[in-house]
């Protein structure tokens, strides 16, 4: 909503500048998006007084006007027929820029013109070139035209619930209340009604009272369609509405002034003598004012005559009944349409007119006759029309009287923390147009004005009092109330939240970068993450195979599915950064994935940790000029460190996963429960996603399962041994099929009570196909210092178990 201050000033005295006014409106809830300055380009133009007019000696149609420009008396050549001595007119001195051109001191028909008198179009005020713009006779010669005609326009962002502020009068009412001034509503000059009364040849029927609650019709005969006066054109212009002709301009002016859209029909185009307001018939067609043929649905409102639609109720008039230059009789419609229906129609047809903008937010039905009256009066005045006696009206509203609220002023104290007394509340409410009755013990009886569709209960009135008084009147305090120990969410959540913080700390410390990916994916980036479906089911292992939830109205094709896994997002992050030339590409994300259930249930939202490592490690530097490519064991080591930090014991077991390279994937389990998986991305997946060559390692862990396992862990203090450790190295060879886990399990079982630790320190393949493994075994006793013989004996026992169970040979 654009509000020119000159227009606003017609209804309320403005006692401060545009910036201060904007601040005041903003503080009270009317957002001011911008302040536009109009007319600054007229700074060098002056108000001039015409002193005398003489005929141009060499041209019949030209005059010589002698003008007082304040500082000088100058002579200009002028061709306009409407000038007369004594008038105040806009004067452009030589050198001014008019319509993009610099004004030259060129002789016209032999007489030099020392400047130029301007028409409205030459100032950019309106399209009017009928004559020189005649200014207010009280203007002082020499005053800058920027001051005389310039203006500020407030561009307001009116909230959907405050449709009343989509009108200059509505904004003026706010300003009046905020500045303690009086609102001056425009006076109605009732022109004499003449001719046959409207109801002699016109009838009205509303067939859809749910969609059209009130319809006021007036008839004006004998209008002359032409341009509207420049003051109206310039106000409309400043408000952002293009001038069409005096009839249309009047309807637009009334809409902007009162916030009430009205429509003018060419009465002669009406077929028959009745108008019906009805639902459209499915597939019915109508050509609207903008020349577009539109196909309608039954939830749309049609204004129809005997033969068909003449307008799309509340949205736009029909082309056939449009006011034309030849139109003489006007049927004026001031009606109220259902907001929801208007919104749906506008959206369905993509038609967002100024009228719709108001109807879809709700228009005060109380103002329908007022707006019609003012429009009649303006059409009589500006278009020479004769208003037909009487009104045809159908009012389908169920409630007519104002809403009443009993309002206890101490309610302000309870909600705001500061109590405003009855007198203060009354003053504020009355200034906004509320009718406040006498107070009693319970409270004030407040009647809500019809334009305040948003006020229903005492809390609404508290807001009115607070916002007009100013929120700045309230001093901040800190709460002193009781703090509840009742969990506002499942306690499992709190545990997971704490766990996520610890996981984040460990991974950041391990050099992994935290990312937050988008949760919406395209079909391709989702589906391409699966090398070949394995049917792993509803778990982290199978999450990429779960059919994702699909949006009914996606913004873009590549953002239509809710992710079921963190894998696609992390691979995308990897690819983007790899292409930027980054070398160390370690990422993690803690976030939600969405696994659909039925349509009648919300999906399962799982909290998952995703980790990705690619590129090289550690960071390249002159101390590490050629860092190695990351491999499976790099990421496994990080996960192991994480598990140790969380006191969770988990096993890694080989697994097949559709996204991962066979033989390079493991499932993590604790007590049989799946915690997640780890593996190297399948090369065909990398290729599908156009990712660069090189190993990409990924893992996903279920944060709830991890939280459960970490919560079950009860780390206890264990006294450190007083006696020294005895280390023994044991190097063996085993067949390639024997796993490290088997060796370590055998060592653990056979090592006896003295074996305190086992660490693998070297692994390499042997030429005969076997594998060499070197372990550092640590022996310790809590009772005495061990002898070499005791340690050696324990090692030998372990060795023979390895030989017996796994065919190991000591090397």
């Amino acid at each position: 909503m654009r509000v020119p201050l000159r227009w606003l000033a017609r209804y309320v005295e403005l006692d401060r500048d545009a910036t201060a006014l904007a601040e005041l409106l903003h503080a009270s809830g009317t957002e001011v998006e911008a302040i536009h300055q109009v007319g600054e380009q007229w700074r060098t133009l002056r108000v001039a007084e015409i002193l005398r007019i003489e005929k141009h000696p060499n041209a019949d149609r030209l005059n010589l006007a002698t003008v007082n420009t304040g500082a000088q008396t100058l002579t200009v050549v002028c061709g306009a027929p409407n000038i007369a001595a004594g008038q105040k007119v806009p004067f452009a001195p030589v050198g001014s820029v008019i319509q993009g051109e610099v004004l030259q001191a060129r002789p016209i028909r032999g007489i030099p013109s020392e400047g130029m008198l301007c028409a409205a179009d030459e100032l950019g005020l309106s399209g009017d070139h009928a004559g020189i713009l005649i200014l207010d006779p009280t203007e002082a010669p020499g005053r800058s035209l920027a001051d005389a005609l310039g203006d500020y326009v407030l561009e307001l962002d009116v909230k959907p619930t405050r449709a009343d502020c989509l009108s200059v009068i509505g904004v003026a009412r706010e300003v009046a209340a905020l500045t303690g001034r009086t609102l001056k509503l425009p006076e109605l000059s009732r022109p004499d009604a003449s001719g046959e009364p409207i109801d002699r040849d016109f009838r009205l029927r509303i067939d859809a009272p749910d969609l059209c609650s009130r319809f006021v019709a007036r008839l004006i005969r004998g209008v002359r369609v032409g341009p509207s006066p420049w003051w109206m054109q310039s106000l409309l212009n400043a408000a952002g509405v293009r001038s069409i002709n005096n009839v249309v301009d009047v309807t637009n002016f009334i809409m902007l002034e009162w916030g009430k859209p009205i429509h003018a029909y060419d009465f002669a185009a009406l077929r028959g003598s009745e108008i019906r307001v009805r639902r459209a018939i499915e597939g019915e067609r109508i050509t609207t004012l903008d020349g577009v043929e539109r196909t309608l649905r039954p939830d749309m409102v049609v204004i129809a005559d005997a033969e068909g639609g003449i307008g799309l109720g509340g949205i736009m008039g029909g082309a056939e009944s449009e006011v034309k230059d030849s139109t003489t009789d006007i049927l004026l419609e001031s009606a109220n349409f259902d907001a929801v229906a208007m919104r749906r129609t506008a959206t369905a047809l993509g038609l967002h007119s100024e009228a719709v903008r108001r109807f879809e937010r709700g228009v005060d039905p109380g103002v329908a006759p007022t707006a019609a009256d003012h429009a009649c009066s303006a059409l009589a005045l500006l278009a020479g029309g004769r208003v037909a006696p009487g009104t045809v009206e159908v009012d389908c509203r169920e409630e007519h009287g104002p809403r009443r609220i009993v309002f206890a002023p101490q309610e302000t104290g309870r909600l705001l923390g500061k109590t405003y007394d009855a007198e203060h509340c009354r003053r504020v409410l009355v200034s906004l147009g509320f009718d406040v009755g006498r107070g009693d013990a319970v409270g004030l009886e407040v009647a809500v004005p019809s334009w305040r569709l948003d006020v229903h209960q005492p809390a609404d009135l508290v807001e009115e009092v607070a916002r007009i008084t100013g929120y700045g009147d309230l001093e901040p305090t800190l709460p002193d109330g009781e703090i509840s120990a009742v969990a506002a969410q499942d306690p499992a959540f709190t545990a997971r939240q704490a766990l996520t913080t610890r996981v984040t700390d460990v991974l950041l410390g391990a050099g992994f970068n935290e990312v937050v990916n988008r949760t919406l994916l395209g079909e391709r980036s989702h589906a391409r993450c699966v090398a070949r479906p394995l049917g792993l089911g509803r778990s982290l292992l199978g999450s990429l195979e779960i059919a994702p939830l699909r949006l009914a109205n996606p913004l873009a094709e590549d953002e239509q599915y809710l992710r079921t896994s963190l894998v696609p997002g992390l691979l995308g992050t990897f690819g983007r950064n790899r292409r930027l030339g980054e070398e160390g590409l370690q990422f993690f994300e803690t976030g939600k994935v969405f696994w659909p259930r039925s349509d009648s249930e919300l999906p399962e939202e799982r909290a998952v940790l995703g980790v990705l490592a690619g590129g090289t490690w550690p960071p390249r530097s002159w101390r590490t000029p050629a860092p190695a490519a990351v491999d499976f064991y790099d990421l496994k080591g990080v996960l192991e460190t994480l598990l140790v930090a969380l006191h969770v014991e988990a096993s890694f077991e080989a697994v097949e996963h559709p996204t991962l390279q066979p033989g390079r994937a493991a499932a993590l389990r604790t007590d049989g429960e799946l915690l997640g998986w780890l593996g190297q991305v399948h090369p065909s997946v990398s290729r599908q996603l156009d990712l660069p060559d090189g190993a990409i390692l990924m893992a996903e862990l279920d944060l709830d399962a991890l939280s459960l396992a970490a919560g079950a862990a009860r780390p206890r203090f264990a006294a450190m041994g007083r006696f020294p450790d005895l280390p023994r190295q044991l190097t063996i060879s085993v067949a390639a099929s024997v796993t490290a886990a088997q060796v370590e399990r055998t060592l653990g079982e056979a090592g006896g009570p003295l074996l305190a630790g086992t660490r693998l320190v070297d692994v390499f393949p042997l030429p005969d196909g076997r594998v060499s493994l070197s372990y550092l075994l640590t022996f310790r006793s809590d009772e005495r210092t061990l002898t070499d013989d005791e340690a050696n004996a324990a090692r030998d026992v372990a060795m023979s178990a390895l030989a017996q169970n796994l065919g190991a040979v000591q090397r």
Partner: protein
């Protein structure tokens, strides 16, 4: 000079000149050690002479002993002096050798980078936890009932219809704000008191540009008890603002009628940290930056969860996490948050 020579004749109690001269020749500690073995070692002439004192006639022993001892002490002292000089020189040479270019870069220690969204959520959570607020979460896929109806946005309400929503089914949607968690939190605890904040992702079906994202993060806050007021809300939110942006920040509350689930409704601005309120490009020359929307929980919302609005009052707020991060770190494009570019994460994480 041999041991018998030393015993028999007197070098007059002074160190043998020959020994002292050769000590001067020792150029390093290794040579010095060779000298020590030769002149003060067990097999040196002096030591042999000392151990041969017993063979002298008793009348000569005393005199010879004193003489030899003087010689030994003199040699030892000179040796020690020489040794410290040489050792100091050698250490100094070694240290000279070990000089480094201290301007060469160090070997980088690993450190992951924090995502600014998570960092801001953690900062704000910590501030509210200090005031007794619990941090909770809620579903991102939500019922339209929770997202709209229970928040005083019934079907047909203009604010609801003007919200650009991603729909999944007729009733299921991607939440457009974190506010449904006001309802969920109140339903769960049953009766006040209640203090929670709820961080999380929200979705709007609208085109993205430098200041609009279709997916972004909000933090919802809610407090309900039998005495809290709008002034408390102002106090807590001012405390949060100062905790995030510095003690000197000022806040300003103005009316906002855009949230149907609060009444009275408000928005909070803080004075621009870039220009201290003087007006600059960041604050569009207004001196103020809008931070969040807030207000007193609407009585109908309380009624909807069976909390008596005559007995209890509550307030709520919702802030955009990206906006806070953008202001805090001077980030000028909201789309950067979802790109996870390492060059971005490295700067502000």
């Amino acid at each position: 000079m041999t041991a018998p020579d030393l015993l028999s004749n007197g070098a007059a109690g002074s160190a043998p000149a020959e020994a002292l001269a050769s000590l001067e020749q020792a150029a390093d500690t290794a040579a010095l050690e060779v000298w020590r073995t030769a002149h003060l070692g067990r097999k040196s002439a002096l030591m042999l002479a000392l151990s041969g004192l017993g063979q002298l006639p008793p009348d000569q022993r005393r005199e010879a002993g004193q003489r030899l001892n003087r010689a030994k002490v003199a040699l030892e002292q000179t040796f020690e002096a020489r040794r410290s000089v040489l050792e100091a020189a050698e250490l100094s040479a070694q240290l000279q050798e070990e000089r480094l270019d201290v301007t060469l870069p160090g070997r980088p220690a690993v450190r992951g980078r924090r995502h600014p969204i998570r960092a801001v959520i953690a900062d704000i959570s910590a501030l509210f936890q200090g005031l007794g607020f619990q941090v909770i979460e809620g579903p991102e896929v939500e019922w339209e009932d929770y997202n709209f109806t229970k928040l005083n946005l019934p079907p047909g309400h203009p604010s609801r219809d003007f919200t650009d929503t991603f729909w999944i089914t007729e009733r299921m949607l991607l939440r457009t704000h974190t506010s449904p968690n006001q309802i969920r939190a109140m339903e769960r605890v049953g009766q006040p008191p209640l203090r929670v904040i709820v961080p999380g992702r929200v979705y709007r079906n609208e085109a993205t540009d430098a200041s609009h994202e279709s997916i972004f993060f909000q933090i919802e806050g809610l407090m309900v008890d039998d005495r809290t007021t709008m002034r408390d809300m102002m106090g807590v939110l001012t405390y949060m603002t100062r905790g995030l942006f510095g003690e000197q920040r000022r806040t300003r509350f103005s009316c906002d009628q855009g949230f149907p689930f609060v009444e009275p409704g408000a928005q909070m601005a803080m004075d621009c940290a870039s220009c201290d309120g003087a007006g600059c490009r960041v604050c569009h020359y207004t001196g103020w930056l809008e931070i969040l929307g807030c207000g007193m929980v609407h009585p109908d919302v309380l009624r909807g969860v069976n909390i008596d609005p005559h007995r209890y009052t509550g307030w709520a707020f919702g802030l955009g996490v990206e906006r806070i991060a953008m202001l805090k770190y001077g980030i000028d494009d909201i789309r950067l948050f979802a790109q996870n570019d390492l060059r971005f994460l490295g700067q502000v994480g």
